[in-house]
Amino acid sequence: MKFTLSWLKEHLETDASLEEIVEKLTMIGLEVEEVTDRAAKLSHFKIAKVLDAEQHPNADRLRVLKVDTGEGEPLQIVCGAPNARTGLVGVLGRPGDYVPGLDVTLSVGKIRDVESFGMMCSERELELSEEHDGIIDLPEDAPVGVSYAEWAGLSDPIIEIGLTPNRPDCTGVYGIARDLAAAGVGRLKERSHDQVRGAFPCPTGVKLDFGETKPLCKAFGLRLVKGIKNGPSPKWMQDRLLAIGLRPINTLVDITNYMTFDQGRPLHVFDAAKVKGDLVVRRGAKGETIEGLNGKSYEVDDSICVISDDNGLESIGGILGGEISGCTEETTDVLIESALWDEDTIAATGRKLGVNTDARYRFERGVDPDYMLPGLEAATKLVLDLCGGEASDVVVSGRVPDDTNIIEFPLSEVKRLSGIDASVAEINVVLKALGFWISGSGATIKVAAPNWRPDIEGKADLVEEVVRIIGLDRVPSTPLPRTGNVGAKVLTPGQIRRSRARRSLASRGLNEAVTWSFIAKVEAEAFGGGKPELTLANPISSDMSEMRPSLLPGLLTAAQRNADRGFPDVGLFEVGQIFEGDAPNDQKMVAAGIRRGTAVLEGQGRHWSAPTRTVSVFDAKADALAALAAAGAPVDKLQVYVDAPDYFHPGRSGALKLGPKNTLAVFGEIHPRTLGVLDIEGPLVGFEIYLDNLPVPKGKASRSKGALNASDLMPVRRDFAFVVGQEVPAETLLKAARGAEKTLISDVTLFDVYEGKGIPEDHKSLAIDVTLQPKQKTLTDEEIEAIGQKIIASVQKATGGTLRG
C-alpha cells in the first residue's frame, strides 16, 4: 500500500515530521517498507521547450532539436523519440545530470557526427513509470526553466507500507490516518457525509439473482450520472495516482482508482450508453466468457459472481470490469456501482482466474460495509465536481449486513496476555479512538468493533489493539520461571542416535551435506521411489519433483558436482529423512554416506606413506559399522547378509541385519547401471543406515558397570589355516571357530586370506588366530590340543574345508 505524505495530510491534521510518522506507522503494525523522495534524485531536470526539430542528416530515425532551457542560448540535442516535435514542452537532462532509469551520467556526445548537449527524457528514464514510447510531453503552459520535480509535485515523499492481510481498514489512506490519529499523531479530519440528492429515478434496475444458492453479492448500490464530460482528470489527482504507480486513464476511471486508494472503497463505472436493460448479479454459467478491461478474456462458471445485462456479461463482480461497457472520453452517461461481495468468493475467483486487481485485494480482505453507500455518494460528488452532469436516485439491491459482535472484555485480559499494566482509562481511550463501541465501567466491559475492522473476533484481538497503540515497548521483559531440577534429559532416543551417527561419520573424515528432500523422477526410480503419492503436483522444477526414497541420489549427484569442479575425491554424508509413503510414519530417519575416488579413511589422493588406494566396499562397511556402533546398535550381534538393494554391485555389497527381517544398514559399491542412470562416474561406494530400525535401548536399573573380571592367567594363542571353497563366507568359518568351545575361546581373528599357488583352484586359504583365555588354571598341552581338534572339526563341518598342510 503506497501513498504520499501530502495525501495522508489530507486526512490527518498533524505537525509530526515525516520521520515521526514513519516511525509511528511501523510501531503500530503498519510497517513502512520504503520512503521514496523522487525530487531528490531528479532535482537537476528542468522543463524545456523544443523550438525546432529537424531531421538528422545521417540517420532516418533521429532528429536534431533546438531546445530552450529558459536561460542562455538554446541547446542542440539529438533525439530519437517518435514524438519529438517543434513546440513540445518536455523534461531536459544536461551534461553532468544522472539519469536514474539508465544508470548513466550524461556528457556531451556526438551521435552520428552531430553534437548533443543532453537528452529529453522519457518517464521510464526518470523512473516515474514504465512509459517509454516517447519523451515526456507536458502541457504547453508548463513553465520553461523550472525544476520539473518541483512543478510536478514530486517533492511529495512516497510512503510504502507492507500491509498484513488482517487490516483491510488500512487499504485506504483515510484508514491509515485514523490509525495514526488513534496513536496520537495528530487529529483525523472527518470525511464528508453529504448526500447528493437524486434529480430523477435511476433508469437501470439491479437484481440480485442467486435463486436457492448462497448469494455471492450481499448488497449492490447503483446510480446514473448523465450529461457528463469525461476527459483527463485534474493534475492533483493524476499526481497522486502517478506517485503510487497508477496510470491516469480518464476522469471517471481515475475517480474509481482514487476512491480505492483514498477510502479503501473499490467502485465500478459503466458507460450507460453501452449497458442494455437492467443489471443482473448472478452466478456465471459454464461456457460464458468476458473480455476484461485488462485486455484478457476469461471463462466463468457457477462459482463466479458476474454482472450481466441484455448484452451478456458486463463484469466479474468485485474483481474486474468488462471491456464492453468501459468508460471512455466519449462517455456522457455513467452508471456508478458500489457493492458488497462475498469475501471468500472474491478470493476463490481471483485465484481461479489468476487475476490480481486492487479491487480484489480489498474485497477479499473485507471492506467497510457501512461505507458502501457513503462511498457511492463521495464518488458521485467527485463526478459532479469534475465532469458535471446530473445524478439520479440511488438504487440498492440486497441488504448491508449488520455483523456487530459484542465482546465481553475483562480488562484484566490486557495484563494476563501482555504483562503490561495499563489503566482502565488508557484502555478506554485507545479503544474509543480506534472507533470501538464501549459500554459498562466495571472489571468487564462490553466492546464492539467498528464495521471496518472485520479482523476483530474476541478478547485477544482487543488486547492486541490496546498494546499496539499504547506501545509494545511497555511490555516488561520477564524471565521464564525455571522448571524442575537441573538438566533433565530432553532428547529422544531417535534424536540422540542421529546426533551420534552424525558426529561419528564426521570423525571418519566425511563432510556433512544437506541436500534437497525432493529429487528428479529418474533418480527416485533408480532408488525404489517415484510413487505417485510422493510426486509433487507443483514442483519448482522437473528435477525436484519426487520426495526422495533414499539419501544416496542426492549425495551421489553432489559428488559428481564436486568432481566437475575439480574435486574428484570426496566423502559426503547426510543424516535426514526419506519418504516411503505419504503417511507420517512412512517418513524415516536415515544416515547415509558416500566415498568417491581415493577418499578413504586414511586420506585422499597420493601420499608417500602408502600406496594410493581407491575406495572399496569395505570402506563403506566400516563407515556403516562405526556409525551404527556410535548410534547404539548391538554391532556384535549383527549378521552380514549379501542381499543389498539392487542399486549396489551385486557381488560387492551387503546388508547388516538383526535377524533376517530387520535391516539396520546396507553398504556396497554403487551399481554401474545406477551410475549410468544418474549420469555420474565412479568409483563410488556408499552406505545407508536405517536409524529407526535400531532396537530401543532398554532402560537400565542401575548405572553401575559391574565389576571387572580380568583373569590372572596368561591367554594362549594358536594359529590355524584352512583351505575352503571360494564361495564360503569368512563369517561362516569365524562363527564355527568361535562356537567350537564356548568358555575358553575369547577371540578369533582372521589374519590372512590367500588364493593362488599352492591352493587348489576355486579355493582359498583363510588363516585365523585363536585366543584361549583360561579361567581356573593354566591349560595343559593336551587340553590345548583337544580344543584345537574341536576347532578343526567344527570348521570342517561348517565349511567343508580342511586344515592347510
Binding site: G29, G419, D461, D473, Q495
Partner: protein, 360 residues
C-alpha cells in the same frame, strides 16, 4: 715376575685395541679361558713351594682381576659404540609430512551445528525438542492454525502440494514447523515447553529464498506465560546464541493467523562493517515473528483459552547460521560443495555446550 709383567702389558694392550666384541671375546678366552695364558699360570701354583706361592698367588690373582676389569670396561665402550652406529644407521627424515587424521578433516554442516546450539540453549531453559513429518495435511498446516479456507493469509505461503486423492484430500509439504505445535498440544498436557526444529518448504526460489529451508519454532503453554515472558525468553536466547552480553529487542505489531497479539521482532545491530553485529550499533534488523497463541488454535487443540495461554515464535535456522557465521548466500547451504562445507562446517568434536561456550 717380569714374565707376568710382560704378559699383563701384552694382554691389556690387546684388550685396549680390540675393535669388536668378538675380538674382545677371543682375547678373554686366550687369557682367562680354560687354556688361557693366565689360567695356565694359575695351574702352576699347586706345584710351587709355599714361599713362591705366597708371592705368585696374589700376583696372578691381581693380574686376573685387572685383565677381567679391563675386558669389562672395553666391552662397555664397544657396546656403546655399536649402539651409536646402529642408531646412526636407523635415522629417518622426520620432516616428512603426515596426513591429517580423519577427525581433523570431517565436518558438521552449519545447520546441524546451529540446531545443536539451539538445543543446548533451550534444554537449559527446560524445553524439549518436538518433531513432526514434512508431509502434512491441510488441516494441520493451515486450518487448525486458524488459517480459514480461502483466506488471503494462505497465499502468503507458497505451498507445495501433492496430487489430490480419490477422497479429495490433498496433502502438502509443510510451509512452517507450526503443525507440530498442534501435534504437541493435542498429545501432551500443559505445561508445554518445546522447540521444533525442522525442514520446511515453500514454492519460491531466488537469492534469499530456497524451496527448502530450516525453521525452529518455540512453544510455551501454561496458565501464566505472557508477552513479557516471551520477550524475556527471546532476549535470553539471542544473548546466548550470539554469545553477547546484551541484546536490545524491538517488538512491532504484526499479523500471523495463529497468534494474537502477533509481533515481529527487530534486534538492534551494527551493519557499518562488512558483517552484521548483534548487540551493538543503532540499526534494527527484523529477526523473527512471534505472538500469543491464538484462542482459536488453543480451542482446536482442546485447550480452554480462558484457562491456558502461552506464546510461540519462529525463526530460520539457516538465517541464524548466516547471521552468526557470515555465510552470504542461502543457496550454497544445499549445494554440498566440499569447499563450502570445509570452510563453514564444524569439527566433529566441537559439540556445542553452554559450559564450554557454544562456538569456542
Amino acid at each position: 715376575m717380569s714374565d707376568l709383567n710382560t704378559l699383563e702389558t701384552e694382554l691389556l694392550a690387546a684388550v685396549e685395541s680390540a675393535a669388536s666384541e668378538a675380538e674382545l671375546e677371543e682375547i678373554r678366552v686366550s687369557a682367562l679361558g680354560k687354556k688361557g695364558k693366565i689360567s695356565e699360570q694359575m695351574k702352576t701354583l699347586g706345584k710351587m713351594s709355599p714361599e713362591e706361592r705366597q708371592t705368585m698367588g696374589p700376583a696372578l690373582n691381581g693380574l686376573k682381576a685387572r685383565v677381567t676389569e679391563a675386558i669389562a670396561t672395553r666391552k662397555t665402550v664397544l657396546a656403546e659404540a655399536a649402539l651409536e652406529a646402529r642408531l646412526a644407521s636407523e635415522s629417518v627424515d622426520v620432516t616428512l609430512p603426515l596426513r591429517p587424521g580423519p577427525i581433523e578433516s570431517g565436518r558438521i554442516h552449519p545447520v546441524s551445528q546451529v540446531t545443536d546450539e539451539l538445543t543446548a540453549i533451550f534444554a537449559d531453559m527446560g524445553f524439549a525438542i518436538a518433531e513432526g513429518p514434512d508431509i502434512e495435511t491441510d488441516e494441520l498446516n493451515f486450518t487448525a492454525l486458524n488459517f480459514p479456507e480461502g483466506h488471503p493469509a494462505r497465499e502468503m505461503h507458497d505451498t507445495f502440494f501433492f496430487n489430490e486423492k480419490e477422497d479429495g484430500e490433498r496433502l502438502l509439504l509443510r510451509t512452517h514447523t507450526s503443525p507440530v505445535q498442534i501435534r504437541t498440544m493435542r498429545n501432551q498436557e500443559p505445561p508445554i515447553r518445546v522447540i521444533i526444529p525442522g525442514r520446511t518448504y515453500r514454492c519460491d526460489s531466488d537469492q534469499t529464498h530456497t524451496p527448502m529451508f530450516h525453521q525452529v519454532e518455540g512453544l510455551v503453554i501454561d496458565k501464566a506465560s505472557h508477552i513479557g515472558h516471551l520477550k524475556g525468553t527471546l532476549e535470553e536466547f539471542l544473548k546466548a546464541f550470539f554469545e553477547v552480553d546484551n541484546v536490545t529487542l524491538r517488538f512491532r505489531p504484526s499479523f500471523f493467523p495463529f497468534t494474537e497479539p502477533s509481533m515481529e521482532v527487530d534486534v538492534q545491530c551494527d551493519r557499518s562493517g562488512g558483517e552484521v553485529k548483534i548487540g551493538e550499533g543503532s540499526d534494527w534488523m527484523e529477526i523473527l515473528g512471534c505472538g500469543m497463541v491464538h484462542p482459536n488454535v488453543l480451542r482446536n487443540c482442546g485447550l480452554d483459552p480462558d484457562v491456558y495461554q502461552g506464546f510461540a515464535w519462529g525463526i530460520g535456522i539457516d538465517r541464524l547460521a548466516m547471521l552468526k557465521y557470515g555465510m552470504p548466500d542461502l543457496r550454497a547451504f544445499f549445494d554440498a560443495d566440499v569447499r563450502w562445507i570445509q570452510h563453514y562446517g564444524f569439527r566433529p568434536l566441537d559439540l556445542p555446550t553452554l559450559f564450554g561456550g557454544l562456538s569456542s
